[in-house]
Subunit: 319 residues, 2 copies
């Protein structure tokens, strides 16, 4: 079975770890990773979502934190403070820096982000084929209004520095309109037996991937069933601040609103958490098959159960 999953950072990565447990030895997972939260820091190209997937599946993630490396040291951060060189609000540890150094050196040498990601995965052996959504630069910006007026800032600044404490007025994937899907992305979607939307942020992770011209249409046209898992449980995001960016696109932070916003042209099935049993009817009324199952990724075993439920729903809607 060929499974394609669209993925953001922490939520996507943890789901994939469960999915990997849930499949058989003949099954293959292709991950299309969000690169809209990529950022240039200290002259280096940082790809937080791709790295979180790579580190999580490769056994190098800082488990409690959910991002960055285990056994990390912070010498460079301390030195940057001494030099007065920022930003201070983005946490890059020394081991993590090594990844960005290797990536940046390869990009400068002319390799594409796809090629670089493949090279990095030679070390990490994530057990999936990890593709960036695009080799072109796409940067998610967030329009806010604060005492400096109305302006667009990088998603990372909104998320990490401001902790989404200011209302997001608009989410703009800068560059997405002219970006091309990375090699293999459309082919993987077309050839998939199942397409999954992990419980990643529907706006700035899955939404950004779908904003790359051609990807949304490919998912909608794919013969494979498309099944998503709600990142909203009981009216709040499990992790992160998805409600803030959902508000920016006019979508309520509920399991059913997120599903209906994707719509039946994309989704064939949707999993909500057991506490959102009441949402099932509304989702199904929207033409999307829906089941309520436990959706808390408390450990790999629980996450594998979620993945099995998603694959089972895919089989059911395949009919």
């Amino acid at each position: 079975m060929r499974i394609v999953a669209l993925a953001g950072g922490i939520g996507g990565a943890r789901f994939l770890r469960g999915l990997r447990e849930a499949i058989g030895p003949q099954d293959e997972i292709t991950v299309i990773g969000n690169t809209g939260d990529d950022i240039h820091l200290f002259g280096l190209k940082v790809c937080p979502d791709l790295d979180t997937v790579m580190y999580t599946l490769g056994g190098g993630i800082h488990e409690e934190q959910g991002w960055g490396r285990t056994d990390e040291t912070w010498s460079i951060k301390a030195e940057m403070k001494e030099y007065g060189v920022g930003p201070e609000w983005f946490g890059l540890g020394d081991r993590d820096f090594a990844t960005h150094l290797v990536r940046s050196q390869m990009l400068t040498a002319g390799y594409t982000l796809s090629q670089v990601t493949e090279a990095l995965c030679v070390r990490w052996r994530p057990g999936v084929r990890l593709l960036p959504m695009s080799d072109d630069r796409v940067e998610t910006h967030v329009r806010i209004t604060d005492d400096q007026g109305t302006r667009a800032i990088h998603f990372q600044e909104y998320w990490v520095r401001l902790h989404a404490a200011v209302d997001a007025e608009a989410i703009v994937p800068v560059g997405a309109d002219t970006a091309k899907p990375a090699p293999g992305v459309l082919e993987a979607i077309a050839a998939a037996d199942v397409i999954l939307f992990p419980p990643s942020n529907p706006v700035v992770s899955i939404g950004t991937i779908l904003a790359v011209p051609g990807i949304r249409a490919a998912v909608a046209a794919a013969p494979a069933p498309v099944v998503g898992l709600s990142p909203i449980i009981g009216g709040a995001p499990v992790r992160g601040m998805a409600d803030k960016v959902l508000a920016a696109v006019g979508v309520e932070a509920t399991a059913e609103a997120v599903a209906l916003n994707y719509g039946s042209e994309l989704l064939d099935g949707w999993l909500v958490d057991s506490v959102d049993e009441a949402a099932v009817a509304a989702v199904e009324a929207g033409g999307i098959a829906c089941r309520a199952v436990p959706l808390l990724m408390t450990d790999v075993a629980a996450t594998a159960e979620m993945a099995r439920a998603a694959l089972a729903l895919a089989e059911r809607v395949r009919g």
Copy 2:
């Protein structure tokens, strides 16, 4: 008193620390640093000699090692090994990486190496004005013959990877012929009251600085007395492998041969170590005033004594 010193790495840096102790509060030191051993590693610009001067005078040097940072961590090096990305033979610690990151980011943004060096020194407060010899790229290459044939390799590869174990057939400062002295270099030489050649490598440190068009002529034409300190004691370099590169330029590894190779058109005075008392006559016969004094930089006090002896000799030759 305005003192100008040409300097390489460890030997120059340690001498400068003594010189700083030896001068009065009104005296000023301008250091013209060798950049011929600069190297691009992991996509970053590394300036080993400038950094050694900066770290040594700024209190951040790894004292026993003579290069690199104190309290260093080595996470990036460990990660690079995991990624299979080299070179492994060049030791860059995490704190050191921060310097190269800041430098490289500024260079990419369009600042010159002079401007970057000045910016880095805002933090390090070395107590001297540190100027790179040139803002243009100059790279010392070494011609060798080994089982791969005759070829030119980067000086760092010769020095650090091969430990100068192969004979150097020629030393070529690639790019020096078209390099321009950095802003302030020629002006500092012309305005100097004393010019010093610390006990740095006469070929790949002082020699490379002098190879930048205009610098040798400026030193020769300067009204200030020029006094050097022998890096060779008792027929061997105090540190490093200067004899190997002296052989490449046909100069014997003796205190007198090094002085006579600079020649009286450059040097007005020369200090040899007490064990080389016998060399004094030969140096003076070459038209260079010479004194024998202890030249081992065992600690800052002993080094300050050396600096005082050099300044005293400068006063004597000034006449």
